[in-house]
């Protein structure tokens, strides 16, 4: 054995030890470029908690095209006219100021998985070591004939991504003749916010009852029955809005005619309405689909539930509405915030050189307004089950409100203000 060889070997041994002990890895937490795409409930929370869980050492860039956060939860109150969109908006400034997140106001146009870069619409390229995608849902407009054009022309509205359409939908309802018809169509599950459509018709009926009492609300649900809080919503409709809301299950919309304001169904006869609120089938955000990451039925992304890493792309983590959900896991803002925290902790663990949490937990709470003040909730707790590599709700936990109350109305606002701060401030 010559001297050089021996030294080389011992250096290798020492190097191996250092490599394993995490000293070298810890610096990778500081040097890694972590890029988060989308600053909704998922992405904003991921960016904030990546900074918090790394004691403000991780470098986190958050890419978002919108000037401020607008909450989808509670936006049905804007559709019904009892709230303004400004009451549901939160500036992004807190993430930079309080947490040192680097904000980039832009859209991601494409992802280069080989080079580990994202290309922005502005032309800029950003390198990543870890990428977190939280682009929300994509609306499959092409599944309903004529919908793309009708929606562009404003004849139909979705208002399922809160923003300009939310306000526009209220305006259409407010301008509708007394005795007019508002129609809402609901796609087959899974879609964003399971109880959302049923809450929306409560809000529209609440407005019409006070302002245009001869009007009707028609609900065409592609599902076999109300998909969330069914008994509570049906009781509320019967008690609060008798004769206004007409609910019909198993009605699948196939086409809309913008000229005659007609909805066409797979089986049943055509229906005409004054205000057409058509919700098409949904899938993962467009970026996910374009990047080839929608590996579940070309609609959603399968992820490893311990760290929310895509099963088809290393170092790309996908959270929020875009994922193929675990059993009984809703596509909700609350759930996206919870995905984000598990993911942030897992990324910090990985980059620090230690194992990810083997036992993550998620919760969901969802409050729905049946009028401007009274609320019902559904809640669940989801524990990771290692043997099945998925999250499952815990037997005997979770549940519904017995009935709508104003007390839960105040809690709903408390939830909103605290989750907005938890995600963005």
């Amino acid at each position: 054995m010559n001297r050089r060889h021996f030294l080389g070997q011992s250096a290798a041994v020492a190097g191996l030890a250092f490599g394993l002990n995490g000293q070298a890895q810890a610096s990778s937490l500081k040097s890694a470029q972590i890029v988060v795409v989308g600053a909704g409930y998922g992405g904003a929370t991921a960016a904030k908690y990546l900074r918090m869980f790394s004691n403000n050492t991780a470098q986190v860039t958050l890419i978002e095209p919108n000037p401020e956060f607008i909450s989808c939860p509670l936006s049905n109150l804007v559709v019904g006219g009892s709230q303004q969109l400004s009451a549901l908006s939160v500036p992004y400034a807190g993430l930079a100021k309080n947490h040192g997140v680097k904000m980039v106001k832009d859209m991601v146009a494409s992802i280069d998985r080989q080079k580990k870069t994202v290309q922005l619409a502005s032309g800029q390229t950003i390198k990543y070591d870890k990428l977190v995608l939280s682009p929300g849902i994509g609306l499959m407009m092409d599944r309903v004939e004529g919908l793309e054009e009708a929606n562009k022309a404003g004849v139909t509205l979705q208002a399922w991504k809160a923003g300009a359409e939310t306000t526009a939908l209220h305006k259409q309802i407010a301008e509708m003749r007394d005795g007019g018809v508002y129609a809402l169509s609901i796609p087959l599950a899974p879609y964003r916010c399971p109880p959302g459509p049923y809450e929306r018709v409560c809000q529209v009926a609440n407005y019409l009852q006070k302002n245009k009492p001869k009007s009707k609300v028609l609900v065409f649900d592609a599902n076999q029955d109300v998909t969330s809080k069914g008994k509570l919503f049906k009781e509320a409709w019967a008690k609060l809005y008798p004769g206004i809301i007409q609910y019909t299950p198993e009605h699948n919309v196939t086409a809309v005619d913008a000229k005659t304001r007609t909805i066409k169904f797979e089986v049943q006869e055509d229906v005409k309405a004054d205000v057409l609120n058509i919700l098409p089938p949904m899938r993962a955000g467009d970026l996910i689909v374009k990047a080839g990451l929608a590996d579940a039925n070309a609609r959603w992304s399968n992820v490893n539930f311990l760290n929310f890493e895509s099963v088809v792309a290393k170092d790309i983590h996908i959270i929020g509405d875009s994922i193929q959900v675990a059993p009984a896991m809703p596509k909700s803002g609350h759930m996206a915030n919870q995905h984000a925290k598990v993911t942030a902790a897992a990324i910090v663990a990985e980059l620090s050189g230690f194992a990810v949490n083997p036992q993550p937990v998620l919760t969901n709470t969802c409050y729905s307004f049946v009028n401007a003040t009274d609320v019902v909730h559904v809640a669940s707790v989801h524990q990771y089950v290692p043997a099945e590599k998925t999250f499952k709700t815990v037997a005997g936990s979770g549940g519904l409100s017995p009935a709508p109350t104003a007390l839960e109305g105040t809690y709903a606002w408390g939830w909103a203000k605290n989750i907005w701060a938890d995600s963005l401030v």
């Binding site: 002990n21 902790a345 919760t363 815990v394 936990s397 605290n418 701060a421």
Partner: protein, 110 residues
């Protein structure tokens, strides 16, 4: 010369092993702290980041509760001794150990 070098190399690798041992321990503590923080963060959606609510918000405050009191309350919700609108449903989803961890992270130290 060769002997000296060999000794140095052995000492170096020995040092590395020693460092590995203590760092591994420190890392276990760090990892556990991260897991605990992330578990407690499941409460933050309703009760605020680190259990600190936005001022004036109607969700019951928790950040003034001593650790032991918070654990007792969580267990009372879990066992049904205490009812609420939603907490009794959520507490039942956690193990006793997890509730203890949550109280240790978010509760005031006695």
């Amino acid at each position: 010369m060769r002997k000296t070098l060999a000794m140095t190399a052995l000492m170096l690798s020995g040092l590395a092993c020693l460092t590995t041992g203590t760092t591994a321990q420190a890392q276990d503590i760090q990892a556990q702290r991260l897991y605990n923080q992330s578990l407690a963060a499941t409460c933050a959606n309703c009760h605020g980041t680190n259990g600190v609510s936005v001022p004036g918000v109607t969700v019951p405050m928790i950040n003034h509760l001593p650790e032991s009191v918070m654990y007792e309350l969580l267990m009372a919700y879990k066992t049904g001794k205490r009812t609420g609108t939603i907490m009794h449903q959520l507490a039942k989803g956690y193990t006793d150990e997890q509730l203890k961890t949550i109280a240790s992270v978010l509760g005031k130290k006695n």
